[in-house]
Symmetry: C2
């Protein structure tokens, strides 16, 4: 039971560095917070080390546990009210043979970490097989994304790739285009990619060109659009 009392300890500095994307990529590691996330990370066998102010039980001996001060947790945590548990995890590794995945969600430049995390949580809830991110999406290991997934990112295969790689599948794009059909008129598919667009600009022209079907959810004229995680939830539930 090792204790760390100094904020300038090298392990603490390393953990804090993982709040930056650059260092996450360099090390293939990211941070998680709280009991529930730790539980899911341990189940996935991806926890490298734990920093905690509270006593923890049933931690495998291969995982290093450090007892630290509140001040140290505050230094490495991204929460307003930290639970007192922060852990370093390794990036999950997934088989990128896409032919194995039949229900995929594709995110076209999603910007907001909360939206991305919520979509990942929803995709797992409705038994989607994988999630793919376009180049300009927010980083999936951003702490706000990780927290909003509620652990789903340990269980759902996630890739960075171009939509063009999936042209053998039925590409169903959510967009407010003139060519869009209403939800109830979409042809369901057993091998498809559901595409959700950017919060402000929707999907790109290139994405629309790749679409086999364009779908919209009918809404009141009083408001421009639905939140993308809500629209995504309705579409994922319908198409599952």
């Amino acid at each position: 039971m090792e204790k760390i009392l100094s904020k300038t300890n090298s392990k603490i500095k390393f953990a804090a560095s993982l709040n930056e994307k650059k260092y996450r990529l360099e090390n293939g590691m990211f941070l998680i917070e709280g009991k529930k996330m730790l539980e899911m990370g341990l189940k996935a066998n991806l926890v490298d080390s734990i920093f905690t102010t509270v006593e923890l039980k049933n931690i495998p001996s291969s995982v290093k546990t450090y007892y630290v001060t509140d001040e140290i947790i505050e230094k490495i945590s991204n929460e307003k009210n930290p639970e007192g548990i922060v852990a370093i995890c390794k990036f999950p590794k997934w088989d990128n043979d896409y032919s194995k995945y039949h229900k995929i969600v594709y995110l076209d430049d999603i910007n907001d970490p909360g939206n991305m995390g919520t979509i990942i949580r929803t995709a797992l809830a409705f038994n989607y097989d994988a999630l793919v991110l376009s180049k300009n999406c927010v980083d999936v290991f951003n702490s706000k994304v990780v927290s909003a997934t509620r652990g789903a990112l340990f269980l759902l295969p996630i890739f960075n790739d171009d939509l063009g790689r999936f042209s053998s599948k039925d590409i169903i794009v959510s967009a407010l285009s003139d060519k869009a059909v209403s939800l109830e008129n979409v042809k369901k598919s057993n091998d498809f990619v559901l595409v959700l667009g950017n919060e402000a600009h929707g999907v790109s022209e290139n994405t629309l060109k790749l679409a086999n079907q364009i779908v919209k959810i009918d809404i009141s004229e009083s408001i421009d659009s639905l939140n993308v995680a809500v629209a995504g939830g309705i579409l994922m539930q319908f198409l599952q």
Copy 2:
């Protein structure tokens, strides 16, 4: 075209005070930010005054417009990257004869401002008539709620009241109870209240007692629950 250059100007101090719930309630006023929100506030005839760093067109003469510095906007704004427009609005006033509202969403202690704002936006999108908040909900005029509504709070009647007041309507409660039926087995209604519960604890025991129907959305066993704004979106779309 009045200019304000000092952060300690009394009008600026007053605007900044509206970031606290206490002063919002005392004055019956709240803050909005950005061009889009301003447009919707003006349409609803609820804008009292505007503080801006950019030139604005078509502002009615009854609305006071003050040109201010970036520093002043930063003082009164709640955004990370403020657009340079902050306005003071009056609370909307709604007819509280509930018999007029036939499709209602009830929020049972919703805590997260983003969730509440997104639910308000979704309720308007699916033509719900009103939204009712339980006592322990986050304040609807909190800046994060306001921003996430995308202006829907200018158009959707919103009240604070007890669920018991709606016992003449069909009360449909979303909960992971043993008694819950799956979405597709819910009896649709023309005069109903859809109840969504707290992010961590769901709905209260008292709420469950008032339910005419309890509904759940079927999800994978790999994850505990859906985000409440996503679940709410799926339910609102289905029951509309």
